[in-house]
């Protein structure tokens, strides 16, 4: 009771005093000591949760960095990053073809997946009647929950023969991976784009219609430009999903560690090569795999930072 009257409570007691009510005859405390401790314990529990996430990222980065760093001195940064041949049995650890492979697979998936996802989001947010929306939205969200190995199987058994007929090869290659990844990133991009569209105040739509704009004009001239930073955010996160995807890509891309030679020709990516080689790699080869993990880590860090910067632009109203 006496503590409650203290004019300047200690910081850790602020929550407790905030929960008490000041009356005429001193303070009537509404919280018991047990409640107070529970509150404090919960606060610390949540703090620990948040800390764990940060610690996990930091630990992974330190571990991967520690295991992978020697590759830059033992193979040489330029031999590693710009080497044109990945032949671990002959001590050639050039990841350029694999990096190019990752980029090719990601860009293609974005080109196919983005229009699909943004279109779906526009439909859900602006056009679909509530009944249709209640069917389509869960369907899209369900796509996000399908395990990637299932996408891989689908690609291997259904898409591969179709692509084989189209390209004349065996059907392993970027085209198959593009289609699979495009489907996989639709939920990410569509949900975030829909959020961005939903956050536009209704008054803006009304103003547009009041000017005599049609639905299409409103969407293309007013809403999409207004949501553009949110959409770019969504695409970047979809890109992160695509570049990091491993299992589905491994199953359909062909895994030949050479440069991109065509849509229907086998290719390999950083992630799939790590999985292919991990079971047997030892020594410098294993170090090189961790080095590839560093590169992937840096790429996804770059993507997240870009999203952060974009959000800041948005807040500043640029």
């Amino acid at each position: 009771m006496a503590e409650g009257l203290r004019p300047d409570p200690m910081p850790e007691e602020r929550e407790a005093t905030a929960l008490s009510v000041r009356g005429d005859a001193g303070t009537l405390k509404l919280v018991s000591k047990a409640t107070y401790f529970k509150e404090a314990a919960l606060k610390n529990l949540f703090l620990a949760c948040a800390f764990m996430a940060v610690a996990a990222v930091a630990l992974i980065f330190v571990f991967v960095g520690y295991r992978g760093w020697p590759v830059f001195t033992e193979v040489g940064a330029s031999n590693f990053l710009f080497g044109r041949e990945w032949l671990p049995t002959q001590d050639l650890f050039g990841i350029l073809p694999l990096f190019v492979g990752s980029i090719v697979v990601t860009i293609g998936a974005l080109l196919l997946g983005t229009p699909l996802a943004v279109g779906a989001a526009v439909f859900l947010s602006e056009i679909a009647p509530p009944k249709v929306r209640s069917v389509v939205r869960p369907a899209i969200e369900l796509l996000a929950g399908v395990p990637s190995v299932v996408y891989g199987f689908f690609g291997l058994l259904i898409l591969r023969p179709i692509v084989a007929d189209l390209t004349g090869g065996l059907g392993f290659g970027p085209l198959t991976a593009w289609i699979i990844l495009a489907i996989m990133i639709v939920p990410t991009i569509a949900t975030l784009t829909e959020d961005a569209l939903q956050s536009i105040p209704n008054g803006i739509r009304e103003a547009s219609y009041a000017m005599g704009a049609t639905t299409w004009q409103t969407i293309s001239r007013v809403l999409l430009p207004a949501a553009k930073i949110g959409i770019v955010d969504a695409i970047i996160l979809g890109m992160g999903r695509a570049i990091g995807e491993t299992m589905a890509v491994l199953m359909v891309v062909g895994n030949a560690p050479g440069f991109f030679r065509g849509m229907g020709k086998p290719l390999s990516t950083l992630t799939s090569q790590i999985v292919m080689d991990m079971p047997y790699a030892s020594g410098l080869h294993r170090t090189a795999l961790f080095g590839m993990a560093i590169i992937l880590f840096l790429v996804s860090m770059g993507l997240v930072l870009t999203v952060r910067l974009l959000s800041r632009f948005k807040e500043e109203g640029l």
Binding site: A164, G169, L170, A256, P266, S268, M276, D277, P279, Y280
Partner: protein, 266 residues
């Protein structure tokens, strides 16, 4: 595969004399796994844990002590010779070259197969087939089958680097079964009616031609131990070599019993 490694690692910490860890070649899994189950049924107090991680990983595991037995479908490499590993051959295996059943080609020479897998022959027309680009299916570098095939057929020269690489025998078989232009190689034990094994230098792969040495693409399957096998490791290996396993499990898996050579007099 990775999780199996961790599993192996974890169990190892608490392993006593009644637990045996066998890792290595996925080719040998049908033998080592079934033998392990049967052995456990006969001796319920003893456990044999088997996982397939590839021949090279198996050899690495047994030499580093994380496994008691390393199975391998290839011979030791030069740098592995001084690890103190003792070899017990457990079966013969022949590698079959497989094509789609619709492919009219039924026979190739070793030289033709070599040229095909090096990317020098790229159309089936060049070896008497249809006018169709050849779809090469290769295995990953961890594969003992690839190692053996590369050594026997390609004289250790490079595979065509643009070939599709698949991480498992089953995947190679299913792709070859689906794609009319494909060619691949798998252990004779895994050939099914979905694919067609072609004869090599005019010799059809079979127990007779393998034991007699006529069929050129063949190898021996090994179990390696660090030093002479003792205790449970010895009891398990003896069980694998017993007539029970050799004549049923080894044969059922499509391999050829290691004891067949003496019997056939080859």
């Amino acid at each position: 595969m990775l999780s199996m490694l961790f599993l192996g690692g974890c169990s190892r910490a608490s392993s006593a004399e009644h637990q045996l860890i066998v890792t290595g070649s996925t080719t040998i899994l049908p033998i080592s796994e079934v033998a392990a189950e049967d052995y456990h049924t006969l001796h319920p107090e003893e456990d044999v844990l088997v996982s397939g991680v590839g021949s090279s990983a198996g050899i690495e595991n047994v030499s580093s002590g994380t496994s008691d037995i390393g199975t391998s479908s290839r011979e030791l490499k030069d740098e592995e010779l001084d690890l103190g590993l003792v070899d017990t051959p457990v079966a013969y295996d022949a590698i079959a070259v497989i094509v789609n059943p619709s492919n009219p080609v039924t026979s190739l020479t070793t030289a033709q197969i070599k040229a095909i897998f090096q990317g020098k022959i790229t159309n089936w027309r060049e070896v008497g087939g249809l006018n169709l680009p050849i779809g090469l299916v290769n295995r990953d570098e961890a594969s003992g089958t690839r190692e053996a095939f590369g050594k026997i057929v390609l004289d250790k020269q490079r595979f065509d680097p643009t070939a599709v690489i698949l991480p498992g025998t089953g995947q190679v078989r299913s792709v070859v079964a689906q794609a009319p232009s494909a060619i691949g190689y798998i252990s004779l034990g895994f050939v099914t009616d979905d694919v067609k094994a072609i004869s090599v230098d005019g010799i059809v792969a079979s127990e007779k031609t393998v034991v007699s040495g006529e069929y050129p693409i063949q190898r021996i399957l090994h179990m390696f131990t660090k030093g002479e096998p003792t205790g449970l490791a010895k009891r398990y290996i003896d069980y694998v070599l017993s007539a029970d396993i050799q004549n049923s499990v080894v044969r059922d898996a499509g391999f050829i019993p290691i004891t067949a050579k003496a019997v056939n007099g080859g």
